[in-house]
């Protein structure tokens, strides 16, 4: 009897312990909800925090802590293609051009420029631009940097547009392109063409360890696996964009929930990558602001156009119209993506939805019937390289079953294997995506036959498409180029090399006391424009 009593006591104690812990956490997560429903209470509830804020934030007024998931592979601008490494590059370097809020190239280091002919450009840089090592930038540095950039295979597609750089006078360079090039200014805004001191290139400086540029911030210290610190560069050339916050600490926190909690706890001021599962909670927090913007990363169900029966455009059209994109976005991304039916990204010059079709099961069945292929014989294996893609593929399985394609399997692979298998064309289907800053680059890398084996993974080999892309790339006049790009998009929508699904959102979540946070489709983040209110 006594023994049983003790057991009961132990059990009760443990239950109380577990309940206590769980309610403790439940409370934390649930707090914002009632505040949302009762605005009057919100003001009352927020006030004390706001009153405490000045004392708490006073010491950090000159510092901002930013966090994202991945540590950059390199601080050199030349040997990587990672957007999260570009965030660091934007702090320490400048390019001749940069992308503005609407993702169009605007002069950065360049003061004035002139288009001498179809293939020749004259760029005059600002006078007196200082590098972090104290030296002053000249046309020699520009030439040396662009020539140096051309030696790196990782960024080859962003250095291919120009063939030679000549020094005209101490502040002017002449850039000659490989034929007329519409993409040159975009390329010059990309991190692969940032400008560094010639003397350091000549002395074999390791720009990963010693990232000397002319950017608004200077590199201070890299604690491997943890964070990178930067400090304001007092001699920054662009006085209008002089940083307001002195210190930048960039932390790498791989786990999404840990990042969000860090922001809520006030340890982090700005998140550049937010887990979609935390969005509702962060949006409900009155001390935080969440910004979202459709990015240029276009995601699709890729189909190998060389594999039977996906070489038949009608089969591809049937698959594309069978996809219930809204459900896919809901299930895979908690609704946080913008739906797309066009073969090219929305927001880019030359976008169009002509010939593109959305979810329509009846039409999909009709396409399938017209193709002459029995849906029961179609075998599709969808490669997924992460959990989001796997969830998307599961919805696609259900969608395709509705038009009779029941033999759909999924294969999970890590990124390295996925890249190799899809690059070789050794697959039938996969969920993939591509990010480019401008339409010409997007089309060249995704649909031009010269990119087969690289990033043209559908292996589309269509001379008409190739010719139009080449024509657009050589058309410097923007309006004329837009017309050609729309033509390519509409042709691609007709061919349907793959089934477009969604464009990722760029999400920034930050402390409400932080001002100047902007977002654009290319993911550019100008830290020097941020300030504490």
């Amino acid at each position: 009897m006594n023994h049983q009593g003790k057991r009961l006591a132990v059990l009760l104690f443990l239950l109380a312990f577990i309940t206590g812990m769980l309610t403790g956490c439940g409370g934390a997560a649930a707090t914002p909800a009632p505040q949302q429903e009762a605005p009057e209470n919100t003001a009352a509830a927020v006030k004390p925090t706001a009153a405490e804020a000045p004392t708490e934030s006073t010491p950090k007024k000159d510092t901002i802590v930013i966090a994202n998931a991945d540590e950059p592979p390199s601080l050199s601008p030349y040997d990587h293609n990672a957007i999260y490494a570009d965030y660091m590059n934007q702090l320490t370097y400048n390019g001749l051009f940069r992308l503005d809020e609407t993702s169009n190239p605007v002069p950065d280091l360049v003061d004035t420029y002139e288009n001498l002919s179809d293939t020749e450009w004259l760029f005059k840089i600002h006078d007196g631009v200082k590098f972090h090592d104290g030296s002053t930038m000249t046309a020699e540095d520009v030439k040396a940097s662009l020539d140096f950039a051309k030696t790196f295979p990782a960024i080859a597609s962003y250095t291919a547009s120009y063939s030679s750089v000549e020094v005209v006078d101490p502040l002017t360079v002449k850039v000659t392109t490989n034929g007329p090039s519409a993409g040159l200014l975009y390329d010059l805004a990309y991190h692969s063409n940032y400008i560094v001191p010639k003397a350091l290139i000549d002395s074999g400086n390791n720009f990963n360890e010693n990232p000397i540029g002319s950017g608004p911030y200077k590199y201070v210290k890299w604690t491997l696996g943890d964070k990178i610190e930067f400090v304001k560069f007092d001699d920054y050339f662009d006085k209008d964009s002089m940083p307001s916050i002195t210190n930048v600490t960039w932390k790498f926190i791989p786990e999404g929930s840990s990042r969000s909690i860090g922001l809520e706890a006030g340890e982090i001021d700005l998140l550049v990558e937010v887990d979609t599962t935390d969005m509702a909670r962060l949006k409900g927090n009155p001390d935080l602001v969440v910004l979202e913007h459709p990015g240029f990363t276009h995601n699709w169900l890729m189909l190998n156009n060389e594999a039977k029966p996906f070489d038949n455009p009608l089969v591809r059209k049937a698959i594309s119209t069978a996809l219930d994109r809204e459900s896919i976005i809901e299930v895979a991304l908690n609704g946080l993506a913008s739906l797309t039916i066009s073969q090219t990204p929305a927001g880019m010059l030359g976008e169009s939805e002509v010939n593109a079709e959305g979810y329509n099961v009846e039409k999909a069945k009709q396409y399938m019937a017209d193709s002459g292929v029995d849906p029961a014989t179609v075998k599709l294996d969808i490669i997924c390289s992460n959990e989001t893609k796997r969830r998307a593929a599961e919805v696609i399985q259900a969608n395709l079953a509705e038009i009779g394609i029941t033999n759909v399997t999924t294969t999970s692979m890590d990124l390295a294997t996925y890249l190799q298998v899809t690059g070789k064309g050794d697959y039938t289907g996969a969920i993939g995506g591509y990010r480019a800053f401008n339409m010409v680059a997007f089309l060249q890398n995704t649909f031009h036959s010269s990119a087969i084996g690289g990033s043209n993974k559908t292996r589309l080999n269509n001379p008409e498409v190739d010719a139009l892309i080449e024509k657009a790339a050589a058309t410097v006049d923007q309006e004329e180029r837009a017309k050609i790009l729309r033509q390519v998009t509409e042709l691609l929508n007709e061919i349907t090399p793959q089934a477009p699904i969604y464009q990722e959102l760029y999400i920034r979540a930050y402390n409400k006391d932080l001002g100047g946070v902007a977002i654009n489709s290319a993911g550019v983040l100008r830290i020097n424009k941020l300030y504490w209110k």
Partner: protein
């Protein structure tokens, strides 16, 4: 004794060769091309091929392996494919963090679980016994990932006592080591309890008691040492495993340790980095095992006599 130590250290050589050989071949033969990972999606097949040649990835595997080992013996573990920094530099930047976390977590686990296990055994079937073993069960069954997030929610967000990530201050180590320590505490407490129970039922304990010695001095002086051998084995094994990286806890708390580095390197097919980590882990594991064996000798004279 020295002969024993020397023999064990010498035995490290075939272990390292075996481990590196297996890892090198598995990494090289598994799909996923390091050159493609470096150059990215857009690179043309020609550019990938050129880089493969430059990196020596086209040579026969045995030649690649021999070249790697020849350099490694001279202390050159190569450059990371991803960061282009020396592997040794990257590992040494993180290894102190791994050691710090391992030692703090294990110390915490041992300090709490040892008395817990002993008292639970001595007071078998008591309230305390039931409570501590249920707590241990709780510790073993809880996924460290979930428990870590729970700790962050409660102690960082709600109470604001400890930072949720990073490694800069002394405070930063508290939550990750509690998350890790709790997991290991459970198995140490359970092992200590069962081996203690076994020992206190032995005849010599009864003899000691019948000589009139007090219960506590019998437990302290006669039972404890004998009951500790399985516990030391468990602790030793766990330290070895932890040196190999507490990947999940490191990820949740953004702790810059070697475990996370290795997982990222495997994903990125960064073969030199993976090899460096593996050599470090294999050496660490072997050394910890050697220390455990030596500790047996200190505790049990019969084992000590076997060394000589």
């Amino acid at each position: 004794m020295w002969k024993f130590i020397f023999k064990r250290v010498f035995a490290l050589i075939p272990v390292i060769i075996g481990v590196t050989l297996i890892v090198f071949f598995i990494m090289s033969l598994s799909p996923g091309d390091p050159a493609k990972m470096i150059l990215g999606d857009e690179a043309s097949p020609e550019a990938v091929q050129l880089l493969r040649q430059e990196m020596g990835l086209d040579d026969p595997l045995l030649i690649q392996y021999s070249r790697y080992m020849y350099n490694a013996i001279q202390g050159d573990m190569g450059l990371s494919y991803k960061s282009k920094k020396p592997v040794t530099e990257e590992i040494w930047a993180r290894f102190p963090n791994t050691i710090k976390l391992t030692l703090t977590a294990m110390t915490l686990a041992v300090i709490i679980s040892l008395p817990l296990g002993i008292i639970a055994a001595v007071r078998q079937n008591s309230f305390f016994d039931g409570f501590s073993m249920l707590l241990a069960l709780f510790g073993v069954s809880m996924p460290p990932f979930w428990f870590g997030l729970l700790l962050i929610l409660f102690f960082s967000l709600k109470l604001g006592w400890f930072p949720s990530s990073g490694s800069e201050s002394l405070k930063s180590i508290v939550l990750p080591s509690v998350a890790l320590g709790f997991l290991h505490m459970a198995s140490i407490a359970r092992t200590t309890r069962s081996s203690m129970l076994e020992v206190i039922r032995q005849d010599y304990i009864r003899t000691a008691r019948s000589k009139g010695l007090s219960y506590s001095s019998v437990i302290r002086k006669h039972a404890l040492k004998n009951a500790l051998i399985p516990t030391i084995t468990v602790v030793g094994l766990q330290v070895g495993v932890l040196l190999g990286g507490a990947v999940i806890v490191e990820t949740v708390f953004a702790w810059p340790g070697v475990g996370r580095l290795m997982v990222q390197s495997i994903m990125g097919r960064d073969i030199p980095m993976v090899m460096g980590c593996i050599i470090l882990f294999a050496t660490g594991f072997t050394i910890v095992n050697l220390i455990v064996d030596l500790l047996y000798g200190f505790i049990d004279p019969r084992i000590r006599s076997m060394y000589t």
